[in-house]
């Protein structure tokens, strides 16, 4: 199994490369379209269903600055495949170059345990956990912008900050269950 390495390649000038990993391959497309709208920086988006990435485009693949795992809470499979894919990442990525993006968190059909397990996962890896409204265009653009904010930092385009620094500020923490009876 080939590990994806964060520092094996040199960064391009004024460019940032992001890898979106989503099992369903639905949200990532619209997200990518929103991401490449960015004009200040040239953003290259790589889409994948799962890791490891195929060997053949090993050489033309740029250095990946941020890996985003998109997890759709409505399906267990989505979470499982993300979990499996994590194993194919070099540990170097976990110094602030990985983040999770969760969709359908507000969906009624989602069991709370699933969200909790995602939280636990993100917390155990010290990664930020973002929530996104993938249904509405506004939600998509917003999600893209948030990813860009992180991406710019991880690609070293923001002076005086590093990926690790940011991830220390934004990383997910497992909240002790605040599930009291809610309306009293």
């Amino acid at each position: 199994m080939s590990l994806l390495k964060p520092f094996s390649k040199l960064p391009g000038i004024n460019s940032a490369n992001i890898l979106l990993v989503e099992f369903e391959e639905t949200f990532q497309q619209s997200l990518a379209d929103a991401l490449v709208e960015e004009t200040a920086v040239t953003v290259n988006v790589r889409l994948a269903k799962s890791l490891p990435l195929p060997k053949e485009n090993e050489e033309n693949r740029p250095r990946i600055d941020l890996v985003v795992f998109i997890i759709n809470l409505t399906t267990e499979l989505s979470f499982q495949s993300a979990e499996a894919s994590l194993k194919c990442l070099d540990s170097g990525f976990f110094l602030g170059k990985v983040c999770f993006m969760v969709t359908n968190a507000r969906n009624a059909s989602v069991p709370t345990e699933r969200l909790d397990s995602v939280r636990k996962l993100a917390a155990s890896l010290h990664c930020p956990l973002l929530f996104a409204e993938d249904q509405t265009p506004a939600g998509v653009t917003n999600a893209a912008e948030r990813l860009l904010t992180i991406l710019k930092v991880t690609a070293g385009l923001v002076p005086m900050t590093t990926a690790l620094y940011l991830s220390n500020l934004t990383r997910c923490t497992v909240p002790p269950d605040i599930d009291q009876p809610t309306f009293d």
């Binding site: 099992f23 990518a32 490449v36 889409l47 994948a48 269903k49």
Partner: protein, 346 residues
Amino acid sequence: MGDSTKSLLQRIIRRIPSRAIESTLRKWGRLTAEQLQSIDFTQPKWTVTQELLDMCEEGNWTLKFITELEMSYIIDNPNQGMWYAYQLMNPEDDANSVELTQFKEQFKSHLKQLVRHISLKMKKHTDEAVWIRIAWGDRFFQPNHMKPTYAVHYLQTPYVFVTSLTSKHKPLFSQAMTLSTRYQAIKDANLSGRNLTAIRDLLMRQFQQAFPTKHPSPLAERNQTVSHPRIEKEQDGNAANRLELACEAFGGGTLPQLQSAVYKLETKFRDQTNKAMTEREESFKCIVKFASTNLLESLRHCASSGFASTPVTPLLSSISLKGKNYFVITDNSPGAASQPRRAQDK
């Protein structure tokens, strides 16, 4: 007699949803224009029924009329009961030259010989289909019009579609059918569903199947997504590949609306982790049922989106391939033990 007629009429009207009543009656064509005028279809259904019953009284309609009404209604919306497909086997040489009139009287005569009291009604639909309505009686009882059997047959094809046929009458029906269509045997085609057209299309190969050809296939063109130069798909190839395989397995375009597929497993339980079950001598029996509003669609989506592994297991693909949705899996069939279990947890 009149009483039964009325009750039958009542029953039929009850089955027809109130918005469809008017159109159905018009189609039926037994009501005069002014009669139709006189009925106010906005008022609650049972009042309409009352009025119809009165008309039935004064017009003293025969049972024939009523059965006509029922038949025309059923033909227009057949998706009510469960439809079962039967296949006629090894035809005589003149099986292909059977024609309608001959078939009709043959069928009638054969059935009449078998059962004394029976009421038959045949009608050729616009799409060459022969619709048969059978109200069964027996030696002592008048034919029961309350639960008639409906059968649909296309001449020169080896398939018959039947609904609400009791096991008691099945042999009679089969015999009459085989004889009158000049075949030698009839067997259950292991295909059933609520949607008549669906199972018909499935058996008669009237749905669009995807075949590998030299010409660019429509679906290849369909998923040509014009992508931004800076967006790169890592695993692009296998997505398209998956879709193609899925379409080859289940067909392209819109698929017949099948509701369910049933797998009856009588296989040896193989699972290293579970010794107790594995060691048991007698085979492990269980039934796996897939249900959906449109099973084939969902299966195809499963395969194309990678939920199910591709190439699709023969167990699933043979639904559309063999035109069956009931399978009995025994150990001699290859890989039967492993695949069903995957099927289960999907």
